[in-house]
Symmetry: C2
Subunit: 354 residues, 2 copies
């Protein structure tokens, strides 16, 4: 039986305030419209068709998924334009990618000839080409070709494959590295143009920097994820305020062993161990002076001022450090509006590792 | 179609060597038998009825689960003696606990009168009492009564409830704190005895210290979890060697952006962010000089010597820092014997947060 109010929700549970999330979706879309770039939200944060559909209804050109399995879930839910910014390798994934591509508009990325050769072998129909973007390491130090010249070389390999279509450039910039990334991308885009290769899409991402000015003369598309829910890290980075946070973990105080210690039924199996450089394992909302100082898998250790009124059985909300991996730990989320529970949704794209 | 060999397994995936796990189960049971204590393995590590049954078949008196939901899965799979060392609160969980208790032999713990009052209200049948142990904070700084005197007081409350039965003492000691914990437990046990309360069970846990001598004159039961699979942390702590490790994450090299960098398709969504005080995010087996120096959700960043032969498409095994939360991220595990895949099992008790 679905709980009627937050008070009745058994813990630990994820609460999603649908009004706050809707506001976040609308605001990001309005910002993208205002600066003249397309929005392609990353579903890694919510993993829900419900919010993917809202994002597209608000004006997003499509969605971003990180795994073929996530794209399958979203395609089954009716999403029709999906970008997977990943080197997809191996027979099994390429077969699934091909099956998906027969149903909808799909695009992917690559940073090596090995990856492109795999795409070229799986996709051979010139009348239904797979759009492939070149992933560029613009300072993030993760995946990507290392220079505009390498981007050109790989773009030429893509353009030369009968079943592929060179679709442009993709990057995930270093934190705070957007200007450097844009200069890199402009240089590569110009080099490609000079060699007769058009960049249909130039796409970048990252919620923390999404409000900074984007150079729309080079970047055509943005892929933020966390903005829909926000979290403690984003608030810390100034991307939003506490009232912009849509997602909280509801937990119960299961023990008050000492005057200055409380134990929550949410540990690393609910909150993850992600610190992202922050102090503490989340913020306890509305409990002055409380700090989540330690986690084991099923226990959260809270230090409290000695006069705290927190009691065994009390339910509390935790603003987590990093919401995306937290969502991946829960089979379902509770959608709320004010204190009312309006729905309980399975996290349909949870745990799609392949 | 199930892959026949490890080579055919799509990544990321968890490989479990059933021969190594069986050896770990047998060795721990032999050790417990030799020192005269009962073994009650914690299923949090494997979350599989398959290994829970093996542990009981080897001689374990029962199993330990941390959540009612885990106990439900194990009861449905035929396990008949389950201890849940947790303060279980709230109508929903207590109803489910009661339903479970009607089917099997269940025991739980408590460290407060609030928790005990909940049990006493839900369990009222003197002919089918719920066994309740008092959880003791013997230095771990987590849950538990703070003194033997408090243990006595709470034991008396339990013993006074018609539907409950005082079952003894439970602790999870501080790392390296077993001697202190045993002294604490002895003192509490003696105080209880002096007040007419018998401790049927005195139970402690933790894999890293499981090979140290246990004082069987006070401790009657041990609840190790990780010993069945082992992991990088346990090897670091000396609880086992690399050849005792049964579980690895199989990953694919998806990018070689520079001569000294490789990217795996296993990030924090496969490996977790758990460091447990270790350097790096796991150990790459058989790749000399490789270090997993960074993780994002779907990428593992590996630093390599410049002459490394690692190529895009290569599959590698990662010994993870902490195996328990990794298992909780995978919907299924691949059981292997040598290089053969012998079965693929759903992680039945995965994600049971309540």
């Amino acid at each position: 039986m679905r709980p009627q109010t937050v008070h009745d929700v058994d813990t630990p549970a994820v609460l999603i305030d649908v009004d706050v999330a809707a506001r976040n979706i609308a605001r990001a879309q309005a910002h993208a419209d205002a600066i003249g770039i397309k929005l392609r939200p990353h579903i890694k944060t919510h993993k829900l068709p419900f919010f993917a559909r809202q994002q597209v209804a608000a004006g997003a050109v499509g969605i971003t998924c990180q795994k073929v399995g996530e794209a399958e879930v979203m395609a089954n839910a009716g999403l029709t334009d999906i970008f997977i910014p990943y080197n997809i390798l191996g027979r099994s994934k390429l077969d699934r990618l091909h099956a998906l591509h027969m149903r909808m508009s799909l695009s992917v990325s690559a940073d090596s000839e090995t990856t492109v050769r795999g795409y070229a072998a799986a996709f051979t129909d010139p009348d239904r080409r797979l759009k492939v973007l070149v992933e560029c390491d613009t300072g993030g130090g993760r995946v990507g070709v290392q220079s505009p010249e390498d981007a050109l070389r790989l773009a030429q390999v893509i353009a030369g494959a009968p079943g592929l279509r060179f679709g442009g450039l993709m990057t995930f910039p270093a934190a705070g590295g957007h200007e450097v990334a844009e200069a890199w991308l402009r240089s590569a885009r110009d080099l490609l143009l000079a060699n007769g290769l058009d960049c249909e899409t130039v796409t970048t991402g990252g919620t923390p920097d999404m409000w900074r000015p984007v150079d729309a003369s080079v970047v055509s598309e943005y892929r933020p994820g966390t903005y829909v829910y926000m979290d403690r890290y984003q608030v810390e980075k100034g991307a939003g305020k506490l009232e912009d946070c849509a997602a909280f973990v509801l937990a119960t105080v299961v023990s008050r062993p000492t005057a200055t210690r409380a134990i929550l039924d949410a540990g690393s199996k609910s909150l993850t161990s992600d610190l992202l450089g922050l102090q503490d394992h989340g913020e306890l909302i509305g409990v002055p002076g409380a700090r989540i100082v330690g986690l084991s898998e099923e226990h959260g250790v809270v230090s409290l001022p000695a006069d705290s009124q927190l009691e065994v059985g009390d339910k509390v909300r935790v603003l987590v450090n990093h919401i995306c991996p937290v969502i991946n730990l829960f089979d379902e989320v509770h959608l709320i509006s004010g204190e009312a529970v309006v729905d309980v949704l399975p996290v349909a794209a949870r745990g799609k590792l392949r």
